[in-house]
Symmetry: C2
Subunit: 411 residues, 2 copies
Amino acid sequence: MKEFFKVTDLDDALALRYSFNRMGKETIPVQAATGRVLAEDIVADVNLPDFPRAIMDGFAIRAASTFGASDGNPAYINVPRTVAMGEIPSFSIGPGEAAKISTGGMLPKDADSVVMVEHTDAIDETTIEVYKSVAPGQNMVAVGEDIQKDQTVLSCGQRLRPQETGLLAAFGRQSILVFKQPVIGILSTGDEIVPVDTVPSIGKIRDINSYTLAGQVLQTGGIPLHLGIVKDDYDNLLEMCQKGLDQTDMLLVSGGSSVGVRDYTVEVLSAIPDADLLLHGISISPGKPTILARAGNKAFWGLPGHVVSAMVVFHAVVQPFIDHVSGLESALHRRYACPARLSRSVASSLGRVDYVRVKLVGENDTYTAEPILGKSGLINTMLRADGLVKIDKNTEGLDAGAQVNVLLFMS
Amino acid sequence: MKEFFKVTDLDDALALRYSFNRMGKETIPVQAATGRVLAEDIVADVNLPDFPRAIMDGFAIRAASTFGASDGNPAYINVPRTVAMGEIPSFSIGPGEAAKISTGGMLPKDADSVVMVEHTDAIDETTIEVYKSVAPGQNMVAVGEDIQKDQTVLSCGQRLRPQETGLLAAFGRQSILVFKQPVIGILSTGDEIVPVDTVPSIGKIRDINSYTLAGQVLQTGGIPLHLGIVKDDYDNLLEMCQKGLDQTDMLLVSGGSSVGVRDYTVEVLSAIPDADLLLHGISISPGKPTILARAGNKAFWGLPGHVVSAMVVFHAVVQPFIDHVSGLESALHRRYACPARLSRSVASSLGRVDYVRVKLVGENDTYTAEPILGKSGLINTMLRADGLVKIDKNTEGLDAGAQVNVLLFMS
């Protein structure tokens, strides 16, 4: 019987990701930016806005002309002109004067505020009464009030949300530099695994992990590549792994990572040129029998065969590696966990990080996390779960009512 | 000057979504399932597993043969045979007997548990000592223990996560019925708006909303279609809106929905055959001057021109409409909000739902939500924000330290 593997601490395992290089860069149109990771810093080359802009429909005015105005004592203002949308007003605003302006219009010279149309009444064609005063700067945006020129507004390593894409548009960027998305190869091993389109004979099961892992890769911003199923055969596995490493940026091999009769993954690794075994076993549960190796700059994972274990290892360990090679700076990207209270006690072991599947129930600030107990081979536990609670290695179980943070699954 | 519009209550506005039909259905390969909305119920046509399966490497045994075993008093077990992976064992297990088995292997007849290899020592070629007892059912999965045959396991209207895709694979599904993704047309209006590839002259600004809204549509599972920019011109706007409605399942027109000189959106609506104005103004802030009309089964939105207002209206109102027409059953799909404490007081108005942009700081169960105050035309407030806090219409402001729920932006 083989020796048991020495497990690596989770934090030590995670720290290994920094030894891998990030993906290369590519230029994409700004329309495709949302969700991608920026690979350049963006410095504002103009002020936003670069002209004083009305943000309400109303009248561009000197605020001082309205001071003291009220329902009982309105200010009478002369409105001889209108600012046309998208045009530079050729006139200026004197005391007791205003110009009709629409949202988005440019304030004339010497106007420092906009009176909302709702706070005025028309007296005649060129006179209004204003019955509410405005402060300087009110209902308008000054030059550079949104974004100042020469300011670094977006940073390399940041994932772009719709608002960041909008900002790029505001600067007139039509294309940007982003990190390439890593292609993640997915391979299942095991004599008992049959393709999805096959009816499994007794003793065999269909290949589930290729589908769950591919979905997780997609949600992480990677591009999954199905490499198929390999029987428990050293030569086949070696060939497929070499082929997989050639075609991808990272390789996930599920099954065959436990210490058992079928454990070829480590042997295959040893036969791959330039491959180094980085760890064999991580002190997490489920997911302990995980292998990580390096082949050149490519991470090569041996994941547990159980569907739940493989998914948990993906969340806990593989995802941070994909994030890193995808160019994400962890300081610029947080995954928020949802605070909740545990509905019942959960046991865990000192010295090991435990991931407990939970269902979130209740509303809003009174979320309760209900542990879903079940064997790690049961996919139904993942169907019922909304996320995972991580129990630290220095904690020996959690009591009912304990405050926990739920790492939510994406949906 | 035109009459002011009567605003609609947010809940009443949201309820209007149920008057729109859901999208049609299409068949897609199961590889593409993650993220899509299921359009059929899935009933288990087999038990999972459909054979008793080992979930640890070890020895298939009758649990009773191990009862009382301990380090000091191991059970001596005869192991004459091995279960080969993916094969049906032809033998059964008697008392005091076991068969070597690997994870995933099928338990022989009369075995009811698996002793982990870690809890055994080999004495000779066919004898082991077991120094820890197992319970019946331990380290194995019984027939149907994961999923029972004939059970409805997935429901129409559910968004598929990686685990649901994995379950479909387990049932051998190669294709599934899903709702089509709605195509959402995006049009910007305003004489001051210029395309992103144009250098705006003074008084003009680049089209930001088309980019922010397209990103939001993508994140909601829709397919954005950029329809361009229309000047403040009734004929042009009518023509583009009709074209847009022909090509899409929903239309978002930003700008031009305020009561002002440029308000053509409502007039255009009246000219579109079969169009009904459903609301003109929603009691939310920002985002009050929102228009919703129906043209056949298609929702036609007039969104505010300010980038922040348009984004907030999308989150608060448009997204639930897209979710609905995308086939999502709200009972099967929750968007979790992150509980946090407000760092400072925020004012709001009775009778109106306020959305406050917030930044989340701190760690885990001690999240603090810092309000980001700023005019709704300023995109920088959205760059700094992690999400929105919704202040109910019956609440007049929130105090510092109040417990709130943050609707997180996706990233």
